[in-house]
């Protein structure tokens, strides 16, 4: 086997440009696979981390009549906060309308305990403000409605009986985060203010579990664990991975096709060499092994070359991040302005195994022909 590796190495180096072209394409494939998967893993980690910090906490306790995917359920999906709701931050959600510059904008009016610490929302600003109805909004909401810190905007809402009411709210803070679902179309005010405004004192739509929360059955409420809430992000990322996988699989297919072609050509042009190996005492299997190792060695070379330019590139991207377009950041999943790729050992080893095995298989396929060759005819260089 050692001989096979030595011969394969010498043959590949001897082939010159042909070898390096194959290696270049395959190494590019290596880098792209690791880059894409690293970016997706980085996004996944960042999205989960931010969503936990800003929205999910340690899980949600939801009112049974409330469905987060059905805004129509907001009307009835709320109830009295249970007396034994320890380590839970209540949030009451009502529909409202704001009128920035005379435009009508529907918003989700969210009342949250101003002294909460379960989420990173800067709710202390609500506590510290002297405004009649202090409110905090996210940067996306502020930008789309041209609202600045200190701005007053008219809010219209309905109380528990459906009667309209309207008053000015003051934007006391504008927070920046990556979780669009806590920002787009949302106005956060103190839950005490919202209780007063709507007459729904002591009621909540959902409650965010703190770190110390231990779930026990609460009548009229159900618990969604952090893991269950995050499963949607996992699903989105895996779908994204699959779709981007098509791209690098195509690239890999091109690289493997190049190796396959090279192998077919080698076997065709090196028939005398094959005949010589056999006549010198190598078995046909050993010759097949030699050619297979030669093909597989492209992937080893590609790995080395990929490392030469890939590692500095990956280190650079992991430090500076990959900028994401603004439009993508407004989608439902948490997406930062920059994604910092994560290159796990599992990803790198997985990619190496994938490329080496694939290269070995495509090298072996044309090499099988050698086993059927007549060594005398091969020595004479006759076409078989």
């Amino acid at each position: 086997m050692k001989l096979a590796f030595q011969l394969a190495y010498k043959n590949l180096i001897g082939a010159g440009l042909r070898t390096w072209l194959n290696v270049a394409v395959l190494s590019f494939c290596f880098v792209i696979i690791i880059f894409f998967n690293g970016m997706m893993d980085g996004w996944n980690e960042q999205a989960k981390r931010d969503t936990i910090a800003w929205e999910y906490g340690n899980g949600h306790v939801l009112n049974d009549k409330y469905d987060p995917f059905d805004p129509f359920s907001l009307q009835d999906g709320h109830g009295q906060i249970p007396a034994d709701a320890a380590h839970l931050t209540p949030i009451l959600i009502q529909q409202g309308t704001i009128y920035p510059d005379g435009r009508m904008v529907s918003v989700a009016l969210k009342g949250i305990d101003a002294s909460q610490t379960s989420l990173e929302l800067p709710t202390q600003a609500l506590r510290e403000s002297d405004a009649e109805i202090p409110a905090i909004i996210g940067t996306r909401m502020a930008a789309s409605n041209k609202l600045e810190k200190g701005a007053e905007v008219l809010l219209r809402w309905r109380d528990k009986n459906g009667t309209f009411d309207a008053a000015n709210i003051t934007i006391v803070d504008i927070f920046e985060n990556n979780v669009g679902s806590t920002d787009n179309g949302q106005v956060w005010i103190s839950i005490e203010d919202l209780w007063k405004m709507t007459g729904m004192t002591g009621e909540a739509t959902l409650m965010v579990a703190g770190k110390e929360y231990v779930h026990k059955e609460l009548e009229g409420w159900h618990f969604e664990s952090q893991k269950a809430l995050l499963s949607d992000i996992d699903k989105i990322i895996s779908t994204k991975k699959a779709s981007s996988g098509v791209l690098y699989m195509l690239l890999l297919a091109i690289a493997l096709l190049a190796i396959f072609d090279t192998q077919v050509l080698s076997i065709f042009r090196r028939q005398k060499e094959i005949g010589t190996y056999v006549s010198l005492g190598m078995t046909r299997r050993q010759v097949v092994g030699l050619f297979t190792v030669e093909g597989a060695m492209y992937s080893i070379f590609a790995m080395v070359v990929g490392c030469i330019y890939g590692i500095p590139l990956f280190i650079y991207l992991a430090k500076t991040g990959i900028a994401m377009p603004q439009a993508s950041q407004d989608m439902g999943v948490a997406l930062a302005e920059k994604i910092f790729p994560v290159y796990g050992i599992q990803l790198v080893i997985g990619t190496i195994i994938l490329v080496v095995i694939a290269a070995t298989i495509v090298s072996f396929m044309p090499a099988r022909k050698i086993a059927k060759m007549d060594p005398v005819a091969a020595l004479k260089g006759k076409l078989q």
């Binding site: 005379g102 009508m104 009986n161 459906g162 009667t163």
Partner: protein, 249 residues
């Protein structure tokens, strides 16, 4: 349907028992006169709704049939996009038929709070058919001149909790007994909507406003106009008009 719904809504106000001032006519008399002047067993109205947008105005024409406050049927005639859309209101239920989907849907819950064809009017505004006497305490609070007409000024404060608007102010023409303006207020005192009736003409011996402007006061813009092109009182409307079957016809 929108015109008749709003008109009947305002008219409903005048069915209130208004505590009469010593110097003002008896409230019952005012109400009766308005009722005689404007109410009818049924009516068929061909109207135009002018919806003012930021860039351009849209004109939606329709023909509406109504019987009292509880039954109404509207068919949209133009523009092409809305042509054939039909709405049926029977008491507190509202159905819409859209020819593009060939489906009838019943609006309920939050969907009723949506704007009608992008106008300043919500489906819910059209759905209100409770007697205002059941919802508000009303009184005449003075006189005012509006559009060169002397009017009685009336104030209504909600006496029940489940009303959309906490307070209403209405101006009624003292001579013709036609409501000319209505303002709707939030609990906080913020004016939310305003309805202005104008172009009052005599039709079949009745004084009737041919133009109504409905405006969301919190929104920029000039509101939505309803203009009556043709109106028939006490017409012969077949019963099938107010049935779900007529939506798909």
């Amino acid at each position: 349907m929108k015109f008749t719904a709003i008109t009947t809504l305002i008219l409903g106000f005048f069915l209130l028992t208004i505590p009469a001032f010593a110097q003002t006519p008896n409230a019952e008399t005012i109400i009766q006169k308005i009722d005689d002047n404007m109410s009818s067993k049924n009516r068929i109205v061909t109207s135009e709704m002018v919806i003012r947008g930021n860039r351009k105005d849209r004109v939606v024409s329709s023909r509406g049939y109504s019987e009292g406050n509880e039954k109404s049927f509207t068919e949209y005639l133009s523009p092409e996009r809305e042509k054939g859309t039909k709405m049926l209101k029977l008491e507190d239920r509202l159905w819409i038929y859209s020819p593009s989907t060939d489906r009838i849907i019943q609006l309920s819950g939050h969907m009723l709070r949506q704007s009608v064809m992008g106008s300043d009017l919500s489906y819910e505004d059209m759905m209100e058919d409770r007697k205002l006497t059941d919802m508000y305490d009303a009184k005449v609070i003075g006189e005012e001149t509006f559009s060169d007409r002397k009017c009685w000024k009336m104030e209504m404060i909600a006496k029940v909790e489940d009303v959309s608007y906490y307070k209403r102010l209405v101006l009624v023409d003292q001579e013709r007994f036609v409501p000319l303006k209505e303002e709707l207020f939030a609990k906080s005192g913020q004016m939310l909507k305003q309805t202005t009736l104008s172009d009052v003409v005599q039709i079949d011996g009745r004084w009737f406003p041919r133009k109504m402007n409905y405006k969301d006061m919190l929104k920029a813009g000039e509101g939505t106009d309803f203009i009556i092109k043709e109106i028939q009182f006490d017409a012969d409307i077949p019963d099938y008009i107010f049935s779900k079957g007529s939506l798909k016809k």
